[in-house]
Symmetry: C2
Subunit: 236 residues, 2 copies
DNA sequence: GTCTATAACCGGATAGAC
DNA sequence: GTCTATCCGGTTATAGAC
């Protein structure tokens, strides 16, 4: 139906790609607000109406950006995940890869979180529409803990990928607001919090903390089920 | 100079108030987007240009909303903070008061926090412009721990208000995305996490976790200083 | 110097012709 | 699938009234 999702392989696919590339370049170069739809259209050599034929709104272009950086992140993680074995090194590597992947877009990141914070927007990472992407992203963190020496209880093991995904969202939030040169503060944050997480996770297995861990994971699981199941409200 | 901050006590003060009340009412009734500046002006019985004379942008109206709910929250906390003595009860009371205060605005909270999330915006809670409000809000959490039986090391004690403020921001973020009836999920989240925080804080004093706590609080303090000092960059 | 009103401008989005 | 013309709403310029 709409040519707005999978460009498939028609003639217009090339036009679509041209508009997308142009807009991402302009976002990088001039930021989001300064990049008007009229400018994107002009630079891509199409009319405004035509740009809207392929992307139903300016925001939609952001979604394309998300997808792209996510894919780039996956690629950037391949090496660490293949070579490193320790939990800390793997997590650190994945987080570093993330920061490196999104850095070129820092200037335009403001708008990202802005739209991401809107509960109405399909772009927000907690929305039902984002579930597939979220699952994929969480799967990455599952790979971080798979095949490591990490010894944790099975209930924590099941929730850990989600917890790490949330942690990673928090880091991105910090990054967005980070005005230090080269995002120095965010890098320090990661370097400091990754070992912290590692230690806390290991501590969670101690008998002393067993009941606390168990209750927390149970609650987490319940919340997650409730949210991921498409509004299976009270009455059937 | 600008009549946009303190209305003082002139004749225009009444006009300003009328515009503000009208817009807040319309936001509640029709949502943010459906409330145009032209409509606000018409309903308030002024011209569009006049509305802009008192509020430099539509966003500014949101700032007024913030201020109002913050003040309402303070009032709503007076009782718990005066009567309760235990840390858990005090924190729970303050969080409950928060949720109760903002609940009437849940419908259009998305847009509110959307603009607040923009790093460029003076409205965002992490901005330099928000420092005074942030300090005030953090002070509220300092009052939560003051005069309780809570026994924690002095370094953690110093950082705890900030940590609780961040926790409270996270809860609000969850609340924004909470579509359950009566915000049931958020309430459960608070009920579950408050005791968890209490337990973790107490555990932090154990010898086993002493070094972990010390290193974390040191890092937190450093980060906070760096952020709160107005960009005291490398070179003087 | 305080306040008000009208007429634009600008950019996101849409309608409808080709 | 592509274009032109147009709408709509936030915002600003400007001219002036009290």
């Amino acid at each position: 139906m709409t040519p707005q999702d999978q460009p498939a392989t028609g003639k217009g696919a090339e036009t679509r790609a041209r508009i997308l590339e142009t807009s991402l370049r302009l976002f990088r170069e001039r930021g989001y607000d300064a990049t008007t739809m009229r400018l994107i259209a002009a630079e891509a050599g199409v009319s405004v109406g035509n740009a809207y034929y392929y992307f139903k709104s300016k925001e939609t272009l952001i979604q394309a950006f998300y997808l792209r950086t996510h894919e780039e992140h996956l690629v950037a993680c391949v090496e660490v995940l293949a070579s490193e074995e320790g939990f800390e090194h793997r997590l650190l590597g994945v987080m570093d890869a993330k920061l490196r992947t999104i850095e070129p877009y820092h200037r335009f990141s403001g708008i990202l979180f802005k739209t991401a914070a809107d509960p109405e927007s399909a772009l927000n990472p907690f929305s039902a529409e984002s579930l597939p992407t979220r699952r994929e992203s969480t799967a990455l963190f599952a790979r971080v803990i798979e095949g490591t020496e990490l010894k944790v209880s099975s209930d924590l093991w099941a929730e850990l990928p989600n917890l790490l995904w949330i942690y990673h969202m928090g880091v991105v939030l910090f990054w967005i607001h980070d005005r230090s040169e080269g995002r120095r503060r965010t890098h320090r944050l990661v370097e400091h919090t990754v070992p912290l997480i590692s230690r806390v996770v290991r501590l969670g297995s101690l008998p002393l903390l067993r009941s606390l861990t168990r209750r927390s994971t149970a609650f987490l699981r319940e919340l997650r089920d409730e949210i991921e199941l498409p509004e299976a409200s009270d009455a059937s």
